[in-house]
């Protein structure tokens, strides 16, 4: 595409200007603020509504001396393009819209409108932009028309992307294939990218590093925690087994002693001995009893008889005493009767006979009084005699009973004497038999001289002595056993402690070994990670050199720095153009322009689209790089108070198109 004609009306202070390069390279001279850049802005505005620095909101209107826009003007840009083949005229008119509202005398500003024209025909905005887009995409347009755009406006990632697109990327496979040392990389890589792998490796390294930092501390701790212990664990175990066996034996012995073992045995034997002796004694007593038994029977009889006769005698004496008592009573009664008789006999009649009639009181006849007297005497005498007779009869009967009683007592006397004589005789016999029993008893064999009894007694004596000794010695034996138990327990505890220390030490050493093995394993893994990282670095270096070589081969002047070496040896992607080793940002304007034009040349090849290149501040470059696209140089020139155009190459012939 080439610019044939660009006409401006009321655009950014240019009231009216027509640029007619007619497809040729031209240079536009002018002092500052004479409208050079305005030409570029107008071209961009017409196509994309933006100015030459890609701004959308910029003041199109012509400003008055007061800095305020002049109202009521039409702002217009028209360009005629040679599209090879074909020509296209685009026109855009921007103006204020003033509307007179009903009931209002004055028109009012209601906004701006833009009218579009394609080849003189009014078009909608959409039709217009669609037509422009058919020529080229806006981004490409910008890249190809503005030499500063690529390096100054694009983000470095976008730049990189375009470069790789244009020059062709280098695939990882290509890089790996370029160096045999990298052959192992795909396996390590799996389906990760190099960057992902590096991140994974770095993360794992950090992890391992932490662990590796901790392990020596742990080992040191384990070392310090190791108990002092020596000796052979197996020997110690054997010794401990022996000690335990001894301990169990001694324990059993102690139990036996505590339970009384021997003493109980002896006590039992003592009981048996005593029982045997008792039996022996009984047998002796039985034998002795057999010897005296007959005599004893006789003795018992005699004792019995003696007792019986003695009892008879005593009973008879009692009867005699009773008889004599009765006799004495009878004799007393006899005396009494004798006295009674004498009393009765001595009794005389004292008469008190009435000699006067009681009735009449006349003395009674004497005869009759004598007779009465005689008769009273006679009566008296008769009664006296009868009484005396009675008393004498009673006396006679009493005498008879006394005599009987006297005879009975005499008889009892004889019987008593006989019984007493018998008792005495039996008693004598009892004494004799008792003596005999005693003699027999005395003559019976004594147990004390029995040999068995003697043996039992000796044995009993011996057992008792033993028991006494045992009771005494038991405490000693127990104390001895207890001592042994304590000693063994102490030895066992000590041995167990030793063994414990040994096993603790062994565990500690085992732990240290494990830690050391861990460390060794981790160190190995760490080394492998470092090897892999080293590989990735080699890879990146190879890739860098391949990529930079490839990219730089696309350009005449520009060289690109695509990677930045970091302090840690890693690489980060960057994208900066350099020229003669100087980075773009450090280049002067001329250098920047030429680098930009170099890039435009390459991009023009890539996009297969040629566009006019606007070279602003062209005065700063002594040798401007040639481009395939039409160059429109904007040159600051103090002498030119108004724009002056110089044609630098032949105009294209219309007929060619």
């Amino acid at each position: 595409m080439r610019l044939l004609r660009l006409a401006l009306r009321n655009f950014k202070g240019l009231q009216k200007f027509v640029l007619e390069p007619n497809g040729a390279d031209i240079a536009v001279f002018g002092n500052n603020a004479t409208g050079k850049t305005t030409l570029a802005d107008a071209f961009m505005w017409l196509l994309f509504d933006k100015d030459s620095t890609n701004r959308k909101d910029f003041e199109i209107k012509t400003l008055g001396p007061d800095g305020q826009p002049v109202h009521g003007l039409e702002h217009e840009v028209e360009a005629t393009l040679d599209l090879e083949p074909g020509r296209l005229t685009l026109r855009k008119v921007y103006q204020e819209q003033w509307t007179k509202k009903r009931g209002s005398a004055a028109k009012q500003f209601t906004g701006h409108i833009t009218d579009h024209f394609i080849d003189g025909v009014p078009a909608t905005k959409t039709e217009f932009t669609t037509r422009v887009a058919r020529i080229a995409d806006e981004a490409a347009f910008r890249l190809l028309t503005d030499p500063l755009y690529f390096n100054a406006q694009l983000h470095w990632q976008k730049r990189r992307e375009i470069l790789l697109q244009v020059c062709g990327d280098v695939s990882d496979a290509d890089v790996i294939a370029s160096d045999p040392a990298l052959a192992g990389l795909p396996e390590i890589l799996g389906n990760k990218t190099i960057e992902q792998l590096r991140k994974v490796l770095a993360a794992r390294k950090a992890e391992i590093n932490q662990e590796l930092d901790r392990i020596p501390v742990r080992i040191d701790e384990a070392r310090r925690g190791l108990p002092e212990a020596g000796g052979d664990a197996a020997a110690l175990t054997t010794r401990l087994d022996g000690l335990r066996a001894q301990r169990s034996q001694v324990g059993a012995e102690r139990l036996r002693i505590q339970a009384g073992g021997e003493a109980a045995e002896l006590t039992k034997r003592l009981r048996e001995n005593e029982a045997a002796a008792l039996l022996l004694q009984q047998s002796y007593r039985v034998k002795a009893d057999e010897a005296v038994r007959e005599t004893q029977v006789l003795l018992a009889d005699e004792i019995y008889e003696a007792d019986r006769r003695a009892r008879d005698g005593r009973r008879l004496r009692d009867e005699i005493a009773q008889g004599q008592k009765d006799l004495a009573l009878s004799q007393a009664r006899t005396q009494k009767l004798r006295d009674q008789w004498h009393e009765v006999d001595a009794r005389h009649l004292t008469l008190s006979i009435e000699e006067v009639c009681p009735t009449c009181g006349r003395p009674l006849p004497e005869d009759r009084v004598r007779e009465a007297r005689e008769k009273a005497q006679a009566d008296f005498n008769a009664r006296k005699a009868a009484e005396l007779e009675e008393i004498t009869a009673q006396g006679k009967r009493l005498a008879e009973s006394v005599e009987t009683a006297q005879r009975s007592v005499a008889k009892l006397e004889a019987m008593a004497a006989e019984a007493e004589r018998d008792a005495a005789e039996h008693q004598a016999k009892v004494a004799e038999l008792q003596g005999k029993v005693n003699r027999l008893r005395a003559d019976a064999p004594v147990i004390e001289s029995d040999s068995e009894y003697k043996r039992l007694e000796a044995e009993r004596h011996e057992i008792r002595e033993k028991l006494a000794k045992l009771r005494e010695g038991n405490t000693e034996a127990l104390a001895r056993v207890e001592g042994r138990v304590r000693e063994l327990d102490e030895q066992i505890t000590a041995a167990e402690a030793d063994l414990g220390r040994i096993s603790q030490r062994e565990r500690g050493l085992e732990r240290i070994k494990e830690l050391e093995a861990d460390e060794r394993r981790l160190a190995g893994e760490f080394e492998e990670l470092e090897r892999q990282l080293y590989l990735t670095e080699q890879f990146i270096r190879a890739k860098v050199s391949m990529l930079e070589e490839r990219v730089n081969g696309c350009f005449q002047l520009a060289r690109f720095k695509l990677f930045d070496q970091q302090v840690n040896g890693g690489l980060t992607e960057v994208c900066e153009a350099t020229y003669n080793g100087v980075p773009y940002s450090g280049l002067n304007h001329g250098g920047q322009l030429n680098v930009g034009l170099d890039i435009i040349n390459t991009l023009t090849e890539h996009y297969k689209f040629v566009a006019p290149v606007w070279v602003d501040n062209a005065e700063s470059v002594t040798a401007i790089l040639r481009t395939r696209g039409q160059q429109i140089k904007l040159v600051v020139s103090a002498a030119d108070k108004v724009l002056r155009v110089e044609r630098e190459s032949a105009p294209i012939k219309k007929e060619v198109a």
Binding site: A523, E527, R531, Y534
Partner: protein, 237 residues
């Protein structure tokens, strides 16, 4: 067959390896750790052990990294103290003339003469039976060895050269004296070779040549002429 290799051998850094049937013993670590790693092809974890002759940086620069990489490191008490690694669990203390087993290698350390604390040289018996003596940074070798297969000794300077250099003012007298007292001259190296039975020696390595005071080619020729054995001069790096 034991294979001795000098990866770096100068006052800028020393690193040697001895390999036998897959097992490797590293001697000295006076280089950057990364250098050591790539010299060993990132296989440090399979190394039997590291021997450090003394505490100078050109022999022990990356000792901490090697310890950290879990490699058992062997050195004298004096070296361990000077390097500050005496308490490390991978540090093993060597005592002169007391041999140790390092993963099948038998190493007999012996005292040497150098201005470091308790510097050592090593008689190394490989698992296969090959015998190698290593002595660097020592005024002379105070022992005699039998049935050696490989001799790796310092040939730091030549007395003639160093005298000339002092005369020309290139080096200070004090420096000369220090060198003479602490390093082995080619003349002393030749004495050492004369003093030993070389009948079974397969190769002789000359190590740690000084930049200014030595002549590698002349040294090599002198040793070849004396011994009739293959002589290798260790490259600087």
């Amino acid at each position: 067959m034991v294979d001795f290799k000098a990866h770096a051998s100068s006052s800028a850094g020393n690193l040697y390896t001895v390999t036998d049937g897959g097992k490797t013993l590293v001697i000295e670590c006076g280089v950057r750790f990364k250098t050591l790693q790539s010299a060993l092809g990132f296989s440090l974890s399979s190394v039997s052990g590291l021997l450090v002759s003394h505490a100078h940086q050109d022999h022990a620069a990356c000792i901490q990294d090697v310890l950290r990489a879990s490699v058992p490191c062997y050195m004298s008490e004096g070296t361990a103290q000077a390097l500050g690694v005496a308490g490390h669990h991978r540090t093993h203390i060597l005592t002169g003339l007391r041999q140790v087993d390092i993963g099948g290698w038998t190493v007999l350390p012996f005292g040497v003469i150098h201005d470091a604390d308790e510097p050592l040289g090593f008689l190394i018996v490989a698992p296969g039976g090959d015998r190698l003596v290593y002595a660097v940074d020592t005024a002379y070798v105070p022992y005699r060895f039998e049935r050696l297969s490989v001799i790796a000794i310092e040939a730091n300077f030549s007395l003639d050269t160093i005298r000339r250099n002092v005369a020309s003012g290139e080096i200070a007298l004090s420096h000369k004296n220090r060198v003479i007292q602490n390093h082995m001259s080619i003349e002393r190296a030749l004495d050492m070779l004369r003093a030993n039975d070389l009948s079974q020696v397969r190769e002789i390595h000359l190590l740690h040549l000084s930049d200014g005071n030595s002549d590698a080619e002349a040294f090599r020729r002198q040793v070849q002429e004396l011994t009739g054995k293959p002589v290798y001069v260790a490259a600087r790096q």
